[in-house]
């Protein structure tokens, strides 16, 4: 129970990251994959694929950024609790 109490906020970060990952998959499947510029032929296909890849990659980087920021925030809060406890 003590171990659970000690890690509950890290578990919250984990659940947040997992939820965002599933949301990301849904967005990529429902929105990004259907994005198409009005360009035809092999060049159009290449441009469309590059666009989808770029948007998918940007969303992935945004997910990583949110994950990192959530962890840094969580660590700061925990350090504050430690500081208050030791005082």
């Amino acid at each position: 129970m003590k171990a659970l109490k000690n890690t509950i906020d890290i578990v919250s970060v984990m659940v947040l990251v997992w939820g965002l990952m599933l949301l990301l998959l849904i967005i990529i499947n429902a929105v990004v994959v259907n994005l198409k510029l009005p360009a035809e032929g092999p060049t159009g296909s290449l441009v469309n694929n590059a666009l989808q890849l770029a948007i998918g990659g940007a969303l992935f980087l945004a997910w990583l950024f949110v994950w990192y920021k959530a962890t840094v925030y969580c660590r700061k809060r925990r350090l504050k609790v430690w500081g208050q406890g030791s005082r």
Partner: protein
Amino acid sequence: MDSVLSDVVLKGLLVFLASFLSSFLVMPKVMDFSRRRGFVGRDVHKDGQPTVPEMGGLGILFGVLMGFLAYCLASFEVDVCLVVFMGCTLVAGAIGVWDYLRTLKGTVKTLLTVMACAPIVVGWLLFPSEVAIGRPELPFVGRLRLTIVYWALLPFAIAVPANAVNMMDTFNGVMPITSIFSLLALLISSIILGRWEAMFMCLLLLGALMGFLPYNLYPSRVFASDVGSLAVGAGIGAIAVLGRLEVVGVVALMPQIMNAFYILASVRGLLERRQIAERPTVVLGGNVIAANRSEGAPMTLANLILSRGPLREPDLVKAHAVLSFFSFILALATACFMLTTLRP
């Protein structure tokens, strides 16, 4: 149908028992061998820093190998997927031995672990109908048909888990406990989704790790070293790829991936632990460990757990186990979402 199911259950039990007993029984010999050869390391988190035999990973590899032989003998056939899985695990183990003996740079070790995906590529080239890759299944999305992107990501599918598990092997029992939770998640997911080859692979690795666990729990009598941790991580990656459980694998390995991600993000690069000037944790004595609060200290999962206050080593290991248990639950939820997508 019933006879097929009972055959699978019997083979599964046999594989698990063979790998568990082999690993458990061979470990004293491995410890003796390591001591005689001078393959020992200091347990830096204990008072007096006692020396502990390393190379316990050899026992894990022996257990996996014996389990595989038991499977071959029981089924009178050699399963291609299992051979590929063994190949990935043994190649990563060999890289671990090399790293232990030569102390490779962080980047070199990571690049070498990329090579551990070679058995998958060879298996696909020789037996494309049996080693089906490039068709990952995602929750809510279903089965994808990726060609170029999957091949570009394939080297990471083995290198990332191998190095993530390796980076997690820092405290007594943490590596086997967290890996056992990951493997349990993959095992149950493979049963839910009917991926029997993946189930046998999980049982091979699970048995060997459970045989190793009693020796590695606090206070450790043996360390897995890079041999064990790289092999276990590569094995988990191979299970995820060969069993088309990529997303479940990512979620099941969340604590290990979190730890690796925090280290990479905070030290900004692939560095070997001896290249990092500051340690993420400090030992206070009496087996009590605290987070290093310095700005330059790398952020690890242990540092994050300890950022609320110092803990004794067994309590720190318990906290890791709690996180792994939650990733186990999330991985099972992911597998259930995959099930609803595949069989509406």
